[in-house]
Symmetry: C2
Subunit: 755 residues, 2 copies
């Protein structure tokens, strides 16, 4: 029987390998990983489940979820947790609320519970009070709420600062380097930076590292305003008074409750003493630094910061003098931008209180029949900065529709092979807190049981499907997308997505020419053929702990579009009805796609992980580094040598390792599920990445200096970026070792299947 | 003696070939093409000549040349011609004024000689008169002149039009295609386009082809205004009322007097009858089309057009509705751009009169001693839209300083081997008219005698040296630039230029990875080594007739920078003193560089053309086409085949031909000057390019759809862009044939030297 199963598995895997090479072909009738007999039993259940999510029902969930502002830990947030729990129970899920006690800051409140707004004034060259409140908008009653947090940064610092302003573009390291070349000092200045390019916390980090005493972060109309199109309420884009709230945690250093960096925030947990007024440790700092191996000022914001709109930024920029900005720094305001310093001076004050508060993850399960100890996770956060119609309400609405469909399928007799786990996370906005603490508490169990995770966050910001994920999940998600229709075109979501990717590839990807035409021997051009791949995973949502810390394959799937109200009070039900998804058709499509992914992952006979795409992605990532190395060498050397530089040569063992990985993936024809599952785990570095041991994945991590964006092969990349040969010497063998380990895991899977 | 000379020539060529491979090395002590003995005799003459140009003298020439507005054919223009003639005579040059009678349009004048301004009104959704005049500016008395042409397009069409507006971005074919995809009709509309990306005449052409009835072309502040930096008079960039005048000739179809498309505009020349009020032929059109093989409406603007500032464009854009623009179309005005059509409606009227008028080229010579029938040409236009301090006054000032230095060198005893010809062209602004008509008249003599041409136009718009040119002149110009010091850094101009190019190359050039690392055999990466190359020649200045029509190698050399007053009244002496070159150090450096190029070219024993860079450039150009072919194939096919498409395969004979060219260039060790000179000529196509027979060069031409920008290998490129296999079938062999001919010319040169 085992013998026969192995042969069956072999066939399934071969079918999977075939489809890996033809991802833009019409989907196969048999879902990935299903034996033919199982597939025909599965089909009617899936068809009925995919017919279940409706636009009207998604609309109703969203209406309820966005009734009131519900930041993490507030009574309104608690009400949404109970609402979600009760619905899931009705639909047959086993549900519990997992409460954690986590450190959060709130804006200071008056006796009557209303929030104290920050203050912002231009003091020179003339005095002027600048607006910090989001104005109410006609036709959108929710925009006038008094319960909304005012302008505010989660995990930000309280204080009042005054001084000269320096404009520092996006606040990237290269922006500060450019200021230095211009001879502009940021020490003891207030840095004005625009949103975009990197996570906002890292803007504050870059500013405080250079001695700035405060940071104002504004939304420039070129990036996020009229420069993109019509502004709210006439259009979907950001208006001049609209604010981007958000966390200024140093996300690329480590997410989660900052008072419990290496353990779960359960009741009674040992905590780092954090100054309740200011938000960072002020006593026993040295002991903490010794114990954690971290530097306090590298890990915590220590200067006050404030998000502002372009209505407030304009008078400041208008009053700045000093050198003209470099060409790329010019934004969309109708004036020539200058870097300062001064004569513009501002004064601002922001006050928040840090307190340990309860937050509530809702965790629900539908137990698997054959492999109950194998988990398929679907997660979505529930807390919002204000109403969060897009972020995350649309995700909760769509995944609730998925949960309703899955519950009904089980009631109708479908038996998922594996256990489905649905998580409604709390306190994501502060720094992925709910998911990170839960993953911390259940780390061993997850390591043992989790097969994969589907993360959802803003499910619907517009009509365009966007998929980030590890390459081994590409076939699963595309296979599922082939089963769901796009609301507008009538084609499958897979066809629409593939056409988009193809067009981008044609427009943008590198074009490597074949050398044979010039008389050189060689292979056909690498870029001549379209191979769809998922976007690299970065960070900024709840898959982070699972992929980067625990090595669980993950997807992040949503629909994007003209989303110009991010983290403002206007991200509300009215905006969604007017602009985001007026008929809620995209919500329904999203719910169907999530349903298909979850059912196929939980139902397949062989877990639907496929590693040929991983091999191809690894090669691309290595090539990307080779390009980086060549580029660096170009900048440094006189180009006198036709040979590439030495670091380049040092990549040979890595290339050989990837080759072996590809060979193993290509010949992978026998396997068992347990061993397959270990491949991603094998990519974890036991000691984590340099300077941030919490991040263990050797292939994927958020960029150390970008925060959101992905940095494939992060250790080696960091060594190249920092020009640090010593670091390269440790990171390269470590990476090679992990690739070998993943290869060995695949070989072992094949061996076991052949036994 | 002939034998001995040949050996000497061999040595010189070998030295030249060596230096071709190391262009960023310190300059050799011996100038390119000089025998050692000759070089030591030449050195003191050159040193004295290079010491001669002074900032103060250049400043004085510019002050005189920019005293009054001097559009082509006006009395003020005539006065500048006499001024230049008299100076050259004083310096020992043989000078004549070459007068041509050419068709030009002027704005209609009142009885008192003042110009009638155009009118522009917004009529819907509300009535408003829009500004068309450039306001006078405090501290710049010249900005108030009543003699300046008002808002106006050279070779434009008179008329009054009214109607709905459509915004069409830069007015490129792809912009109109995007409008079509949006369902926006431009027929019978007034098209509003912004300056940039392509020659303005082609914007009008693209609009009229699609049935538009008028065109407004404005300067957007993102491209040319406060988006670049501080605006005039506070900074060098374009202010809101500043206008970009200019010609709307369809430059990429053929320059010169449009009433004499295939012959010189000498007195009594046969002329095409052109409607004096409207500016294009309205009688005997069919006969003309038969005779010329051109289509009237493809060759002439037939709809009225007007240049406007962003002060006038803003209310129109503000009143436009319809779809939001695609993201890349958003400009720098503080509003969301819309494409229309309407509800904005405008009415505008512009009136000019066409008349045959005299224009004056000043042609001066210093006769060569050994080879008087070999010409080294230096040219610069003299006419300006208004004052033209940068364009072209800086060029005239700098080349006058060169002429002074060259005249003094001859007086001091230097004997140029070849004849130096200096040309001060007229009516360049209307469409390269003076140079084109002169080249037409002297075509046979030029074919026989011209060795190379140095074109200057705007010599000084800022501090950064910029060189366009055919690759065979790269060694000459870099060699000369090695002998001149950069005013700011103290390094040689060559070192500064090379450092700039290197930085750009490191940042931007394609990175072809070597395949051997992946187990493929092959050569080292093409892009791993920095090879400086000149910018490709396009069009838009007076080298066009020489390179594109007559096959004479040419350079175009000037200094660029923060130039924001192009073709406005503010391009005046005050702007130059405040922003462009306050101390006139760059003018002096430019004059020295031109002097070094001219003296070396006229004095070298072997003409300083080197074809190894040409071989490398050809390979790059072919690669560029291969990339284009791959890109096209990506867009078209399903990518199902790993092989490149067939057109790609069809390039093999071309590749083989270029290989042979490279081999010939690399082994080129014997030659004589006459034969060397034929190499570039051999690249001319006897029947010219498809649809524009006037353009004959098989390798370089301005883009058919871009106007200014270069299109290397224009025939084949056009076939690929138009997706026209039949055209490819004729253009590919024609190009191959020309490359073979150039190769044969080099072989013949070698054979003759060995005789």
């Amino acid at each position: 029987m085992l013998r026969r199963l192995s042969v069956g598995v072999l066939g399934l895997l071969l079918a999977g390998l075939g489809s890996a090479a033809s991802s833009d072909e019409p989907p196969a009738a048999t879902p990935l990983g299903f034996a033919p007999g199982a597939a025909s039993a599965f089909a009617p259940f899936e068809a009925r489940a995919l017919a279940m999510p409706t636009p009207d029902q998604a609309r109703a969930w969203l209406r309820t979820l966005t009734e009131e502002p519900h930041a993490a830990g507030t009574p309104a947030d608690s009400r949404t947790a109970l609402f979600v729990r009760d619905r899931l129970r009705e639909w047959g899920w086993k549900v519990e609320i997992a409460e954690y006690e986590v450190l959060l800051n709130y804006p200071v409140q008056e006796r009557d519970g209303s929030f104290v707004a920050p203050t912002l004034r231009l003091t020179r060259p003339h005095a002027r009070v600048l607006p910090v409140a989001e104005p109410a908008v006609a036709g959108d009653k929710d925009s006038a709420s008094r319960d909304a947090f005012p302008a505010f940064h989660g995990y930000g610092v309280s204080g009042q600062v005054a001084g000269q302003v320096v404009y520092a573009n996006y606040g990237r390291p290269e922006d500060f380097a450019a200021l230095e070349r211009l001879g502009v000092e940021v020490r003891d200045k207030i840095v004005l930076v625009r949103y975009g390019e990197l996570f906002r916390g890292l803007k504050v980090r870059n500013a405080q590292k250079r001695g700035a005493k405060g940071a104002l972060i504004y939304s420039d109309p070129a990036d996020d305003g009229y420069g993109r199109g019509d502004i709210y309420p006439h259009g979907p884009y950001r208006s001049s008074g609209s604010l981007q709230r958000g966390s200024v945690q140093f996300l690329s250093l480590g997410p989660g409750d900052p008072s419990t960096p290496f353990g779960p925030s359960v009741k009674g947990a040992k905590r780092l003493p954090i100054d309740g007024a200011r938000g960072f440790p002020t006593v026993n700092v040295e002991a903490w630094e010794r114990e954690t191996g971290l530097k306090r000022d590298d890990y915590f914001a220590t200067i006050p910061s404030l998000p502002i709109g372009y209505a407030a930024a304009r008078p400041i920029l208008d009053a700045l003098a000093g050198p003209n900005v470099p060409a790329a720094w010019q934004g969309g305001l109708p004036l020539p931008y200058h870097v300062g310093p001064g004569p513009a001076e501002v004064e601002f004050a922001t006050r928040s209180e840090y307190q340990v508060r309860p937050v509530w993850n809702v965790i629900a399960t539908l137990e698997g029949s054959a492999e109950p100890d194998r988990w398929i996770l679907v997660g979505n956060h529930r807390d919002a900065w204000v109403y969060g119609a897009v972020d995350p309400g649309s995700g909760t609405a769509a995944t609730l529709e998925m949960c309703r469909a899955l519950g009904a399928a089980v009631k109708a007799g479908w038996k998922p092979r594996r256990t489905l786990v649905y998580a409604s996370w709390d306190a994501e906005e502060y720094g992925l807190v709910g998911s990170t603490e839960w993953a911390d508490e259940h780390a061993r169990e997850l390591d043992d049981k989790a097969v994969l995770m589907l993360n959802v966050d803003s499910a619907v910001a517009g009509p365009d499907l966007d998929i980030d994920g590890v390459p081994s999940l590409r076939e699963l998600v595309l296979d599922a997308a082939g089963a769901v229709r796009d609301a507008r075109s009538g084609n499958s979501l897979r066809a629409v997505w593939t056409a988009h990717r193809r067009a981008e590839w044609a427009r943008r990807d590198a074009l490597d020419l074949p050398d044979p035409l010039w008389g050189d021997a060689g292979s056909p051009p690498v870029g001549a053929r379209f191979r769809p791949h998922l976007n690299w995973l970065g960070s900024g949502s709840d898959y982070t702990a699972f992929v980067d810390h625990l090595g669980i394959p993950a997807l992040d799937v949503g629909f994007r579009g003209k989303y110009g109200v991010y983290h403002s009070i206007y991200d509300d039900f009215t905006w969604m009805e007017k602009f985001g998804d007026p008929e809620f058709l995209t919500h329904a499509a999203a719910a169907r796609l999530y349903t298909a992914v979850a059912m196929r992952a939980a139902g397949a006979d062989v877990v639907p992980l496929r590693f040929l795409p991983y091999g191809a992605a690894l090669r691309e990532h290595v090539d990307d580094l080779r390009r980086l190395a060549v580029r660096r060498a170009r900048e440094k050397t006189r180009g006198a040598d036709d040979r590439p530089p030495d670091e380049f040569e040092g990549l040979r063992p890595l290339v050989a390792a990837v080759r072996a990985f590809q060979t193993a993936a290509a010949t992978l024809a026998q396997a068992v599920n347990d061993a397959l599952m270990r491949v991603e785990r094998a990519l974890l570095l036991p000691n984590g990445l340099p300077g941030r041991p919490w991040f263990k994945h050797a292939v994927y991590a958020p960029g150390l200096t970008t925060g959101y964006a992905s940095w494939p092969l992060p250790g080696v990349r960091q060594a190249l970026l920092d020009d640090d040969p010593a670091l390269l010497k440790t990171q390269l063998p470590a990476l090679v070792d992990r690739v070998h380990a993943a290869t060995a895991a695949m070989q072992q899977a094949a061996d076991e299947a052949a036994r």
